[in-house]
Amino acid sequence: MIQDKDKEELRVRSIRNGSVIDHITAGNALNVLRILGISGITAAIVSVAMNVPSKKLAFGRKDIVKIEDRELVPAEVDKIALIAPEATINIIRDFEVTQKKSVILPDLITNVVRCPNLNCISNSPEPIYSKFKVLDSFALRCDYCETIIDNDIATYLI
């Protein structure tokens, strides 16, 4: 008899080496790929599962992303916290989970989110990256023009 957990694993096959991003807020798998710079022309083998039943997340649904032969580094992992604060990252080597990490939102995020204020200096041709301070309320404040993003952060992902 196949257990629930096994059923879940069967939706997307196990990977030999790479990263599994689990417990992504449902509907945000494709945004996670954007944050990681994975586009349709990437060479990596990427598996995406959306709206998988979950007991842990609100609304009982989650997304999962598996990226083969790429181990995510902390800076990449923390950016994911912007849109999926409950996500976990498993690093897989030879089918075994060798590291399991939660995402931690950094105090300052650089070159991840575009400022919604079109007149902000960070939206000009100056050789600078966008910079946002992360506020306690999970909102972001532009370090240049102080515009606040307090909802729908995914809309502003670069």
Binding site: N117, N119, C120, I121, E126, I128, C142, C145, E146
Partner: protein, 291 residues
């Protein structure tokens, strides 16, 4: 203004008080020092008063306006700032984009003073506004109303941040569509919103009037809808507190009637003068390392 504490502000205001006797007579505190005035937007008072302040302190200035700069050849602001920093001991920057001064401070080798960044902030105006309030009214237990374009008016944005440090009771009076951005309002401790100056003018010590800034409106129709939507005239002043002062960062268009100038309440020209001792204080602190 967010970078300054109340102690920092008090320090500047106290130093400005010391500069008052020198604001006309001058002092040789910054002899041989050079201040670059980089103004990418029109300015009268800010540019002239920084120029005056530096010269009153015995220093000299370099003036650059967009029409004659390498910006027309496609140079980035970052490069202009780096070059100016090689020539001058400090830079005053006014730029149409929000956050320009902060970016400039990241690439500059010398201190950068924000002389106004788009619809963002104008902190030196705020310091002279506070100085005016302290000299002509009081900062403690202050009731103040800000009237006008509070959406695009950068002087208003910086001022309310600072007033909040002094626990002022702030009333924001703006026509519909020109209210202060909510991310600023949400940071204020004691704030009331209104659309009618008649409702509030008899309850305040200071009335701070701003111009509707046509140049900031992305949509000309939006400007036409609100232009001339308020005007302060003498009859409106009936029954106000005896010690009321009326301030305005200038330039004025028609939001304050000329005859108000003759009343005892009008302090906006004195306010413009206070820009000199306040900017002298800032320059002396930055360039002479006064602590």
């Amino acid at each position: 203004m967010r970078d300054l504490t109340r102690d920092d502000v008090d320090f500047v205001l106290d130093y400005a008080e010391k500069m008052m006797p020198c604001a006309k007579a001058g002092a040789q505190l910054l002899q041989g020092r050079i201040l670059a005035l980089l103004f990418f937007e029109p300015s009268t008072r800010t540019q002239l008063s920084f120029d005056t302040a530096m010269k009153r302190l015995g220093g000299s200035t370099l003036n650059l306006t967009t029409g004659e700069s390498s910006v027309l050849k496609g140079e980035t602001l970052s490069d202009t700032i780096r070059v100016a920093g090689e020539y001058a001991d400090a830079i005053v920057l006014r730029h149409p984009r929000e956050g320009a001064a902060r970016m400039a401070s990241e690439v500059s080798s010398v201190p950068v003073i924000n002389g106004g960044d788009g619809a963002g902030h104008h902190p030196t105006q705020t310091l002279l506004d506070l100085f005016t309030i302290r000299k002509e009214s009081h900062l403690h237990d202050l009731d103040i109303a800000l009237l006008g374009d509070l959406k695009y008016g950068r002087t208003a944005h910086s001022l309310v941040y600072a007033l909040n440090m002094y626990d002022a009771n702030i009333t924001l009076v703006a026509p519909e569509g020109l209210q202060m951005p909510k991310h600023i309002v949400s940071t204020l401790n004691s704030v009331r919103l209104s659309e009618d100056i008649d409702e509030v003018i008899r309850d305040v010590d200071v009335l701070y009037v701003t111009r509707i800034q046509k140049e900031r409106f992305p949509d000309p129709n939006e400007y036409l809808r609100v232009a001339k939507s308020y005007r302060l005239a003498v009859p409106v002043l009936e029954g106000v507190r005896d010690n009321l002062i009326i301030m305005h960062p200038l330039p004025r268009v028609d939001e304050i009637a000329q005859e108000v100038d003759q009343t005892k309440y009008a302090k906006y020209f004195k306010q413009a003068f206070y820009g000199i001792p306040v900017r002298m204080a800032l320059l002396a602190i930055l360039l002479n390392g006064v602590t």
